[in-house]
């Protein structure tokens, strides 16, 4: 039994780390712009497809392919803000939400033409055999994923705490008007937030590509799960996103193992409803914070 529980835990942590990166993307954008981007899942898909093309197709070194796909997706996020979000005359939140939905359909359509309708696969980052821990197998790729997620979160924290730009972004998140009054270019901050959160989605895609099969329509479910994770941990809180992602991943795996696999997809949404009923600001979110 211990062996099985450990195996569920490993499986959950791997998936959870990916949910966490996606949730980070949602959270970053939300804290600066109060916007939920329904195209976030599509950024994940683009990241995965980018890695497969650059690494497997063009035979670039892994590090370069990783960096280029992430930057490429960040560029797409930048374009989206510039061309679609900023041009709106009356930025009513619902209108912005529909625009992100439109963008997600558009990106999916472009991906379908560029990469075809079939799925693609990528090899693991390194060719190590799976580790055996007390009878349970742990993929080396999972270690890579966890390592990279931790590094990303630490880098983000350092960015927010130490750099001037990061502090300016935080100021925007706390009070946009006040921030622009003291001379922070809030429009540029929005642009940066878009690029960063899209890049985060790209990293999620790069990480998920080797453990699964990637196709143009993989984004939606991953995006929704990432969103649930972000709400669970507390929208706007980076550590909350990590916690929410991990919790969601582990609970999903345990749910499959200890109850039934038909419950798997329901778990994320039951958690979402539960957290809204019990503690709408999320586990780590500040109480009674004004949203949207």
């Amino acid at each position: 039994m211990v062996q099985e529980i450990l195996q569920y835990l490993f499986s959950g942590v791997t998936n959870g780390a990916i949910y966490a990166v996606i949730a980070l993307g949602f959270t970053m954008l939300f804290s600066t712009t109060s916007l939920i981007n329904f195209a976030q899942g599509e950024f994940v898909m683009l990241g995965a497809m980018g890695l497969i093309t650059l690494w497997k197709g063009f035979q670039l070194p892994l590090g370069v392919a990783f960096l280029l796909s992430t930057l490429g997706v960040a560029g797409v996020g930048l374009l989206m803000e510039r061309l679609a979000i900023r041009t709106v005359r009356k930025p009513h939140p619902i209108v912005l939400v529909i625009i992100t939905i439109g963008a997600s359909i558009l990106l999916k359509g472009i991906a379908m033409i560029a990469w075809g309708k079939d799925a693609h696969s990528a090899p693991a980052f390194s060719r190590h055999p799976p580790l055996e821990v007390a009878g349970a197998t742990l993929l080396f790729q999972s270690l890579w994923i966890i390592l990279i997620v931790v590094a990303v979160v630490l880098a983000l924290q350092a960015f927010y705490r130490k750099s001037l730009t990061g502090k300016a972004m935080q100021a925007c998140a706390i009070n946009r008007k006040a921030a622009s009054l003291i001379g922070i270019p809030s429009e540029k901050m929005t642009l940066l937030a878009f690029a960063l959160s899209a890049g985060m989605g790209g990293i999620g895609g790069v990480l998920v590509a080797p453990i699964t099969m990637s196709s143009y329509d993989m984004g939606m479910l991953l995006g929704l799960k990432g969103f649930c994770a972000a709400m669970l941990g507390g929208l706007g809180n980076s550590w909350g996103a990590v916690l929410g992602g991990m919790l969601l991943g582990i609970l999903e795996a345990m749910g499959v193992g200890l109850f039934s696999s038909s419950l798997k997809d329901a778990i994320a949404f039951l958690l979402l409803l539960g957290i809204l009923y019990v503690r709408p600001s999320g586990i780590l979110g500040e109480k009674a914070i004004h949203r949207f």
């Binding site: 558009l106 359509g109 949404f269 979402l272 809204l276 709408p280 949203r291 949207f292």
Partner: protein
């Protein structure tokens, strides 16, 4: 007056159009209009969003489907049960959620919609699971069959007309004024003595019951239902209908439903590029006419008329 005009328009259309494909298409537009209308009351007048409206659509369809196909009920007996079912479920969903301000209801309904979809899929002994529920009977009145074509067209558009009247009444009533007050400023409305959360619950329940009615009409038209007709993407499509047609515009729901039902048919000429074009159109409408197509068309019309009045005609000078 408007209602009579509308009824005349429906009647002429129903009597002049003979090709059953066009009738079928218009019937689907009618069902989508009922869906959009309900959601429009919620989004346009109560300022809330629902990202899981297809769940109520599905609830209505599955309730009548299960009652008639498995247990041999008459559809007319199943109708009140289906509507009451959606009513109760919507009330329970809304109850705790509407205490929250902002768009939390949207997030909650998203979760609820996904769960409802999973229930439709997994409870296969009752719902037929993924391959769907077969054997739903067509509607009959006495010995007269209201299965498809003209009779069903008139049935659906009769329901649309009733829904229109109900919504207009609601908007023009005391409740409607209160709703608009909530939409503009919830705090100010509360200060005026409006019980905002109770009103919001009722509007939500009203829109859910309309969706349940649409589900009933869908189930007995197609006589087959499967979970994918009530998934997340369908919820998103209903929201899109409302926003494209124009929020807080009753006629906008009709336009939005019509555009989104016919558009995919036109876009087929783009074959593989269809999704790209669809996404672009959606974004373009939101960027250039964020107030929706009805208001957008009207504004353009009025602007051009004003221009015609103010600029002197060169031929006369």
């Amino acid at each position: 007056m408007k209602q009579i005009l509308f009824a005349v328009a429906v009647l002429t259309m129903g009597l002049t159009i003979s090709q059953s494909y066009h009738l079928q298409l218009l019937t689907f537009i009618g069902i989508h209009t009922i869906l959009a209308l309900g959601l429009n009351m919620l989004m346009g007048y109560a300022g809330q969003i629902s990202l899981g409206h297809a769940a109520f659509y599905g609830l209505g369809a599955y309730a009548t489907g299960i009652l008639t196909a498995h247990w041999g009920w008459s559809p007319w007996a199943a109708l009140p049960v289906a509507l009451a079912g959606t009513f109760v479920v919507a009330f329970l969903v809304a109850l705790p959620m509407l205490k929250l301000s902002g768009y939390y209801l949207g997030m909650g309904t998203l979760g609820f919609g996904m769960i409802a979809f999973i229930v439709f899929r997994e409870w296969s002994s009752l719902t037929g699971g993924d391959s769907g529920l077969v054997g739903i009977p067509s509607l009959t009145v006495g010995t007269f069959s209201v299965s498809s074509g003209k009779p069903y067209f008139f049935l659906v558009w009769g329901c649309v007309l009733l829904a229109f009247i109900a919504c207009e009444r609601l908007v023009d009533s005391r409740v409607g004024r209160a709703l608009r007050a909530i939409h503009d400023s919830e705090k100010a409305a509360a200060a005026m003595g409006i019980d905002t959360s109770r009103l919001k619950i009722w509007v939500f329940v009203f829109s859910a019951v309309l969706a349940g009615l649409a589900g009933f009409l869908y189930a007995h038209l197609v006589t087959f239902i499967s979970p994918n007709s009530f998934g997340f993407l369908v919820s998103i499509r209903i929201v899109t209908m409302v926003v494209i047609g124009g929020m807080a515009s009753i006629w906008g729901s009709l336009l939005g439903a019509a555009v989104l039902t016919i558009l995919p048919d036109w876009l087929h000429v783009f074959t593989d590029y269809e999704m790209v074009v669809y996404g672009l159109i959606l974004m373009a409408i939101m960027i250039f006419v964020p107030q929706g197509l009805t208001r957008g068309i009207l504004d353009t019309y009025e602007r051009s008329r004003r221009k015609a009045f103010t600029t002197p005609d060169p031929s006369q000078s």
